[in-house]
């Protein structure tokens, strides 16, 4: 059972931001490894007219409360799923649409398996339950590839380059965002990013897929080097009654490379 959460301000901890129609159906956007809720900035506007839109940062990313980081809790995706459930409970969401990108797709699966009554739909964008090849299962990576990622993280966080330079190129559409983005842009704590990378890319959540009871849609990008087509198909095959949708958007981040198409696909999956 969940612990009582009155003592924890989950809105602050996860920098929960709400927009759209407060009386609309709730739709929760969860970002993946490497960035923050800013990943959804081109998708969220498509839903604000008729949905209650909720976006948040995982602890360690964006404007989340880094002091809430507990290595033991976040040593598996269950810790992140607990946070999702706490947000859903704190906002008292029902029949919620959960849109999870990348690792957050599996976080959503874990959350929905624990409290299915809260969720009306799971939308998994580029999901992978296991990134490492194992036996007949092809995840796309080997263990040493993941070590390579950890090396790359260290190369980029090793002092001289710190985080990726937080220089803002200016945003003609919304100039007022400049200052705020400079401070929060895809910000991640290097130590947490390293741990999150391990937890994300070394986890194995294949066994959780057949237990999903919430209606689920798998959105698969073209040429996704992180969660390749066969992995998306596997997720679809393992989740009973799920729907598989192939997007034209390329790469692993359709929320940036094809936000309009992604928004349309999410909407039509809810129709």
């Amino acid at each position: 059972m969940l612990q009582p959460t009155e003592a924890v301000d989950v809105r602050r901890r996860n920098s929960v931001r709400e927009s759209g129609d407060p009386s609309g159906r709730p739709i929760v956007f969860a970002h993946g490894f490497g960035c923050s809720q800013e990943m959804w900035r081109r998708v969220v506007p498509h839903f604000e007219s008729d949905f209650r839109v909720i976006a948040f940062d995982h602890v360690g990313a964006g404007d989340s409360d880094v002091t809430a980081y507990d290595r033991a809790k976040y040593d598996s995706l269950h810790g992140y799923a607990d946070d999702v459930l706490e947000i859903v409970e704190a906002l008292d969401l029902r029949d919620a649409v959960f849109v999870g990108h990348s690792v957050s797709a599996m976080i959503g699966v874990l959350a929905a398996n624990r409290s299915p009554e809260r969720f009306g739909r799971l939308v998994l964008v580029g999901p992978s339950p296991r990134y490492i090849d194992e036996g007949d299962y092809v995840g796309g990576f080997t263990r040493s590839d993941i070590d390579g990622l950890l090396d790359t993280l260290d190369d980029n966080y090793l002092g001289w380059s710190e985080a990726i330079a937080p220089v803002i190129a200016g945003n003609p559409d919304r100039p007022e965002l400049g200052a705020e983005l400079t401070a929060s842009f895809c910000r991640t704590d290097p130590a947490i990013a390293g741990h999150f990378a391990r937890v994300t890319f070394l986890s194995d959540n294949r066994a959780d897929l057949p237990e999903v009871t919430v209606p689920t849609v798998v959105l698969q990008c073209a040429e996704d080097a992180i969660a390749p087509g066969p992995v998306g198909r596997y997720v679809h095959e393992q989740i009973p009654g799920s729907v598989f949708v192939q997007l034209n958007a390329t790469g692993h981040c359709p929320n940036l490379s094809g936000p309009d198409e992604l928004a349309a696909a999410i909407r039509s999956s809810l129709a």
Binding site: D75, S76, G148, L202, A225, L256, S257
Partner: protein, 466 residues
């Protein structure tokens, strides 16, 4: 040649583009290569026209590819620019080429383009990787050493097996990054002594099915062992665990217990982790042996070696504690003094071995005749004291009578049979007395009651209530 000699177009500008000391790449918004300079093509070991049309991600090492897709591209898209990102190219010769990358989004009229400048960072990265590798080794080794040192200290400070087990569970949990750990010791059956078991208690060592994978002395199970071990897999999943492992505690060649560690994701059990686990278990097993020996020594110091009953040392502290407790709780307290009648004749007529046997048999009868909480003590050669807490005159008399009857049942062993009787004296310290008597005073009164039985012809019970 002057600076003015190079115009923005023409052969000189083309030469600068192609032979610049950095790689230059232009990408579509979607990350496909539109154009590369000769320097970049040469670094990749592929002709430029072969590169055009390919996604840049295909030229990256897998680890760098994950970073590029999950971090580099999102930041570039959102921010319009990224600087000095360390990535690694995979060349046509299958070598890794570490590079530093700057990229900028060019909002061209025909659609956004991405311009990328790539710098060879081999030397810088070689140096940094060496630093990093050294740092990781040092940190890893320091962390393991710290766990071992802390464990050694905690083991040394453990006065009981329970404290030791708790220290071992905590050390193993910390050292292996486990979600929880527990220590079981083999008694009549394995039982939990320290740590926590985050899953169904039915899955104790011994109750576990044969493990899925056996390393050197280690056994592991995971949620993926559904076919081989459906019960374990189901229990692990219900507890939101990924896997568990067990390691034996071995002392002097025999297994004396088990350490179990529980993980919420697949554990990374490299040789260092296995070695650490081995060291912890070896040290802990030695400490268990030491504590067990100490407990045995303590038991020897407080018990009579012949009969196994409490000795005078234990009796003295038990009476003192019982008197204090009786006063505090306003309860009665009884002492029963048992002296065997004519025991000397057993030694004289049979032999000392038979005498010892008689004492052992009588001791066993006394223990059977009293209640579980009563303490039976061998006070002297053929004298026994029983301390009965919260016992009044009536109950004390009944117990004393049971003792008298139990003692006089015929005794026999190889080649001899004998009937022996006892003179029993009872003193009962009533609840809430006017004057509180000390332990030695109570003993003297019980002794007096016993002599009263002797004087009245032996084989009887006398009670003095105070």
């Amino acid at each position: 040649m002057t600076a003015e000699g190079i115009t923005s177009e023409g052969p000189a500008a083309d030469a600068l583009y192609d032979r610049a000391p950095c790689g230059l790449v232009t990408l579509t918004e979607g990350g496909r290569i539109l154009r590369v300079n000769a320097t970049f093509a040469a670094w990749t070991g592929r002709p430029a026209d072969e590169l055009v049309g390919a996604p840049l991600t295909d030229l990256l090492e897998p680890g760098a590819r994950i970073f590029y897709e999950t971090r580099f591209l999102p930041v570039l898209h959102l921010q319009g620019e990224v600087r000095e990102v360390a990535l690694s190219l995979r060349t046509a010769h299958d070598d890794a080429l570490p590079v530093l990358v700057n990229a900028v989004v060019d909002e061209a009229e025909a659609g956004p383009l991405i311009h990328v400048a790539v710098f060879d960072a081999s030397r810088r990265q070689d140096y940094e990787r060496q630093l990093l590798a050294a740092r990781r080794i040092a940190e890893g080794s320091e962390a393991r050493t710290r766990v071992l040192q802390n464990a050694t200290t905690a083991f040394g400070e453990s006065d009981t097996v329970e404290m030791l087990a708790q220290a071992l569970a905590e050390s193993a949990q910390q050292g292996l990054g486990a979600m929880a750990a527990a220590v079981f010791l083999d008694g009549h059956e394995p039982h939990l002594v320290g740590g926590t078991v985050p899953l169904d208690a039915a899955l104790l060592p011994g109750g576990l099915p044969a493990p899925g994978a056996v390393g050197p002395a280690l056994a592991t199970w995971s949620v993926r062992d559904e076919l081989a071990h459906p019960d374990v897999a189901t229990a692990l999943r219900a507890a939101r665990l990924d896997s568990m492992l067990t390691a034996p505690l071995v002392h002097a060649g025999a297994a004396i217990g088990t350490l179990a560690c529980y993980f919420s994701r697949p554990p990374e059990l490299d040789e260092h982790a296995v070695e650490l686990l081995g060291s912890l278990c070896r040290q802990a097993a030695q400490t268990v042996a030491r504590l067990t020996l100490q407990a045995q020594l303590a038991a020897i110091a407080l018990h009579d070696p012949l009969t196994g009953l409490a000795n005078r040392v234990l009796l003295r502290s038990h009476i003192t504690a019982s008197v204090a407790s009786a006063m505090e709780r306003q309860e009665p307290l009884a002492l029963i003094f048992v002296d065997l009648d004519d025991f000397k004749s057993v030694n004289d007529e049979l032999d000392h071995t038979a005498g010892d046997t008689v004492l052992k048999l009588i001791a066993a009868r006394l223990v059977s005749a009293v209640r579980g909480d009563d303490l039976v003590c061998r006070y002297g050669g053929d004298e026994f004291i029983i301390v009965c807490q919260n016992t009044d005159h009536e109950r004390a008399s009944a117990i004393a009578e049971r003792i008298r009857v139990a003692v006089k049942q015929p005794l026999h062993d190889d080649g001899w049979q004998r009937v022996i009787t006892a003179s029993v004296g009872v003193t009962v310290h009533a609840a809430g007395p006017a004057r509180v008597l000390s332990g030695p005073e109570l003993l003297r009164v019980a002794d007096k009651a016993m002599y009263r039985s002797k004087d009245r012809g032996k084989d009887q019970v006398s009670v003095i209530t105070l």
